[in-house]
């Protein structure tokens, strides 16, 4: 990691993980105070940023565009949600030890696959392992048969559609269309307490930082170089004696796990997880976070996830009709005018400013800068 990035990361980490929660502790009247609502909203954005990291690793570096990451997000979120549902116990509306929706659906005994989620340790394990195994199985089949490019994107989109359909079914015993909601406690801490939410926020921030470091580490290793090579010319990598499928599978599983962890942190903070988070539209929305922020940079993905969702939460409350138009325009604009996202656009702007400044200072020293390794597709 370059030194500048370490410093920037350190500052960002302190602001996000320490300063913001401290601001939340300030009394409400104080000018720097952050309300519980805002902090909770930021927590949600941070979970999206974790997911965007994995997606950027997959798309920005390896050139594999997945339109089905909502599924992995959902798997993590549902795993956590199931544990939280069981934690409610008989404090639910129907006073039954079963989750409310099961009483409603007249399910008499807890389905077998719910049982292990009584255990917190198993749940934490499942949050990582379920998306990982599912991602491995799907990725293995897809990459082994050299499904790539738009073929892979379409297959993942079909995956998102199928998963959405399946999670919507009541007989899956996962709450159907209404999903899992009405959580009371997490590992014993009451979710209605601001302190618990603050704690969840800090955990999310720390996970995001850890995820960033992990992804940066991956891109800095030899494997990361191979990923970029696969993106730029998969055939050449293949002919050079590497197995692109193995690298792609690895990075696909990593991004699936990041998505699952993001989902698991999302569920308790937002308080509900429904199939609507899994489908085709949310899955492709995740891609636009990365595209708008800037691909192949990691920090661009984080900024994109934060920025797009901030705009969304503002637009959907103030001008609900405009949100989809804006999102569509964002897709088109990000592709047509900012192929390297906001980060890239700002970088180019900065470079041009520097050039102008240096040209004025010393016209002879101005040389055109050559950028390498920009994503092509």
């Amino acid at each position: 990691m370059p030194k500048r990035e370490v410093v920037a990361l350190g500052i960002a980490a302190i602001v996000v993980a320490v300063v913001l929660p401290l601001c939340n502790l300030l009394p409400a009247g104080s000018p720097l105070a952050i309300s519980n609502f805002t902090l909770n909203l930021f927590g949600k954005f941070l979970t999206y940023a974790i997911l965007a990291l994995g997606l950027d690793l997959l798309w920005g570096y390896a050139g594999v565009l997945s339109l089905g990451h909502g599924v992995f997000f959902g798997l993590g979120a549902y795993a956590m949600g199931m544990h939280l549902m069981l934690e409610i116990g008989s404090k639910s509306v129907y006073q039954s030890s079963l989750p409310d929706f099961m009483v409603w659906n007249q399910v008499k005994i807890l389905p077998l696959f719910w049982w292990p989620f009584h255990s917190a340790a198993f749940t934490l394990l499942a949050i990582v392992l379920v998306p990982a195994l599912f991602g491995f199985a799907f990725g293995y089949l897809a990459f082994r048969s050299r499904i790539r490019g738009v073929y892979f994107s379409i297959i993942t989109q079909a995956l998102a559609l199928s998963a959405w359909l399946v999670f919507n079914r009541n007989e899956m015993n996962l709450g159907g269309t209404n999903g899992l909601a009405d959580f009371k406690t997490i590992f014993g801490f009451p979710l209605s307490q601001p302190a618990t939410q603050r704690g969840l926020y800090v955990v999310t921030a720390l996970v995001l930082i850890a995820g960033y470091v992990l992804c940066r580490w991956i891109t800095a290793t030899r494997a990361g170089k191979v990923l970029v090579a696969i993106r730029d010319s998969e055939t050449r990598v293949l002919f050079s004696g590497y197995s692109p499928a193995a690298y792609k599978l690895f990075v696909f599983v990593v991004s699936a796990v990041l998505a699952g962890v993001a989902g698991a942190l999302y569920a308790p903070q937002v308080g509900i997880i429904t199939p609507a988070k899994i489908g085709v539209l949310p899955s492709i929305e995740m891609v636009v976070w990365v595209a708008a922020g800037g691909r192949g940079t990691l920090y661009g993905a984080v900024l994109g996830a934060f920025g797009v969702n901030w705009i969304q939460s503002w637009l959907t409350t103030s001008y609900p009709d405009l949100w989809l138009l804006f999102l569509g325009g964002l897709f088109m604009g990000a592709v047509l005018f900012f192929p390297d996202g906001v980060v890239g656009a700002l970088g180019r702007l900065g470079a041009r400013a520097r050039r102008i400044v240096s040209r004025r200072a010393d016209p002879a020293a101005a040389t055109p800068s050559v950028s390498l390794g920009r994503p092509t597709s």
């Binding site: 798309w59 989109q157 079909a158 199928s162 989809l324």
Partner: protein, 555 residues
């Protein structure tokens, strides 16, 4: 008791007098009917109801008419020379300060002159009585429908009579069967007759009826046949005939279900094909996956809606032909939007398929939201022209709806047109040349940009056509495209790029497979099974059914 007796006597006397006064001897009501008429004027609701049943069961058209008048509240009693007489009221008028009414006799409808309304007492028909009357009127109406000029109405009436299985309907049905010439109505009448005999006949008749029902493959006779087969009181011959008939009908049912599934598969395959044709050609030519294809389809559907409204407002008399106008209009609207999309944005992104995918997705969101803002979020109503409603019966128990047949025909025509365009025209030659080698074609003077634009517009137009066809079988709403888009992508992926045969085969396969496994797995898990199937299929053939062979390592 005495009063009732007087009424009865007076009625009999009156009817007898009526009979006597006309040379064409009006039938004297049987004592049962006469008693019923007396009961009808009384106050006992149970007796009145029983009376209506007695009168209705005569099945005499004139008495049925009387019941109809009774239901409408125009049956009155009047006192005449110390007796009570039932009359049917006609037109009311005001004469001076009196309301007067034309009256006629109850049975013969002999006019009896105009009398003041105050001289009459209405025979009340409360809800219960009206409900009792209704089946008799309906049965009468159904029997009248057997003579309707429309064979579909005749067939419906026959089916209804068979389901009611009332013994008295048998002669009517037999009479109709003698006169009937239409094959399907004859079948329905024969079935009705057998059903009536099965319900009401002697044991020998029942056995014969069961046998003939078996020969007629009557699905609707199954419950009664099963009852008969399980009836220990029935004779062994009857029960054996019933069991045989059940077996025959079940075999036939299996056959019809198979044919129906095949047909539904073909219909779904046609829809997928209509959508996937445009997608596949564009993908083969430019490597562009057009995510807005579904929305172009929705545009076609909404164009149909607009054309329909326009016809309804301007030319209501030619409403049925609106669909013929809507077909080209929807093609042109979608093609125009496609052209704008291609020239406006997509052409800047050639060679970058993932970016065009996102770009067209953005366009799809904008079109979708635009439709929602313009036409509202709710589904709009597109009514079928009369020549597309109904269906053609092909075998017993199976009617193919015209709209589905039409879609299959449209898809076939689209494929034929596509083949003709690609392999018989110069434009097609250029399209194939650019598909095979863009750079070389450009060198040889093919204007690749023009080919791209026209092909994209053509593909978009096909989507519009598909949307127009879809209005006939599904809901039209802003998210219409979303329901089919993923499926048609699967078709393109499975079929492979650059070969029409792959697209055709893949849509036939996916359509047929979907409808084939849906009964067993349900729609949702059927879809999941299809996805798994496609992924496994791609293990064997990563580039789809028909991969373009060449020296291109990226293919």
């Amino acid at each position: 008791m005495i009063s009732r007796l007087t009424v009865l006597l007076s009625l009999v006397a009156w009817l007898a007098a009526g009979a006597a006064s006309h040379a064409a001897a009006a039938p004297t009501p049987s004592p049962k009917v006469a008693a019923a008429l007396t009961d009808l004027t009384g106050d006992d609701a149970d007796k009145r109801e029983a009376a209506v049943t007695v009168i209705g069961q005569t099945r005499d058209p004139k008495w049925i008419q009387f019941l109809s008048a009774l239901r409408d509240g125009s049956v009155y009693t009047r006192a005449r020379s110390g007796k009570t007489e039932l009359v049917v009221g006609g037109t009311k008028a005001t004469k001076g300060d009196q309301d007067v009414i034309d009256i006629a006799s109850a049975y013969e409808r002999e006019p009896l002159g105009t009398v003041p309304l105050t001289d009459l007492k209405e025979v009340p028909a409360d809800r219960r009585l009206r409900l009792t009357i209704k089946p008799f009127l309906d049965a009468d109406e159904t029997q009248a429908q057997l003579a309707d000029p429309d064979p579909n109405v005749r067939r419906g009436a026959a089916v209804k009579l068979g389901n009611q299985a009332v013994a008295t309907a048998a002669p009517v049905v037999e009479e109709a069967l003698k006169k009937e010439s239409d094959r399907w109505v004859r079948h329905a009448l024969a079935e009705a007759l057998a059903l009536i005999q099965l319900a009401n006949g002697t044991p020998a008749q029942r056995a014969a009826a069961a046998r003939s029902l078996g020969d007629l493959h009557s699905e609707s006779a199954m419950p009664s046949l099963q009852r008969l087969a399980a009836d220990t009181a029935a004779s062994p011959a009857e029960r054996a005939a019933a069991v045989m008939a059940i077996r025959g009908i079940e075999r036939w049912g299996l056959l019809t279900r198979t044919v129906e599934t095949l047909f539904q598969g073909a219909s779904l395959a046609s829809i997928l094909l209509l959508m996937a044709l445009g997608l596949a050609v564009v993908f083969g030519l430019m490597g562009v996956i057009n995510m807005a294809h579904g929305e172009l389809m929705a545009l076609g559907a909404y164009s149909t809606f607009v054309v329909q409204n326009w016809f309804r407002a301007a030319w209501p008399s030619h409403f049925d032909s609106y669909f013929l106008v809507a077909l080209p209009v929807s093609f042109l609207v979608a093609a125009a939007v496609g052209l704008v999309l291609e020239r406006g944005v997509i052409r800047f992104l050639y060679g970058r398929p993932l970016e065009t995918l996102l770009l067209t997705w953005g366009a799809s969101l904008i079109i979708q939201q635009g439709l929602r803002l313009w036409f509202g979020a709710a589904n709009v109503d597109v009514s079928s022209p009369s020549w597309l409603s109904g269906g053609v019966p092909v075998m017993v128990g199976l009617t193919l709806p015209y709209n589905r047949v039409f879609i299959i025909g449209l898809a076939t025509a689209a494929v034929a047109a596509m083949y003709w365009l690609l392999f018989r025209t110069n434009a097609g030659l250029r399209i194939r040349a650019v598909t095979q080698n863009r750079a070389m074609s450009s060198c040889l003077g093919v204007r690749a940009g023009v080919v791209d634009a026209t092909t994209f517009a053509f593909g978009a137009g096909l989507a519009g056509l598909a949307g127009c066809a879809l209005t006939q079988i599904g809901n039209v709403g802003p998210s219409l495209g979303q329901n089919y888009i993923v499926d048609s992508f699967m078709v393109v992926v499975t079929g492979g790029v650059g070969k029409l045969a792959g697209t055709i085969l893949a849509s036939a396969g996916l359509g047929g497979l979907t409808k084939g496994i849906e009964p067993a797995l349900g729609a949702v898990f059927g879809k999941v099974a299809i996805l798994v199937g496609v992924i496994l299929f791609l293990q064997r053939r990563p580039a789809g059914l028909f991969a373009t062979r060449g020296r291109n390592a990226e293919a």
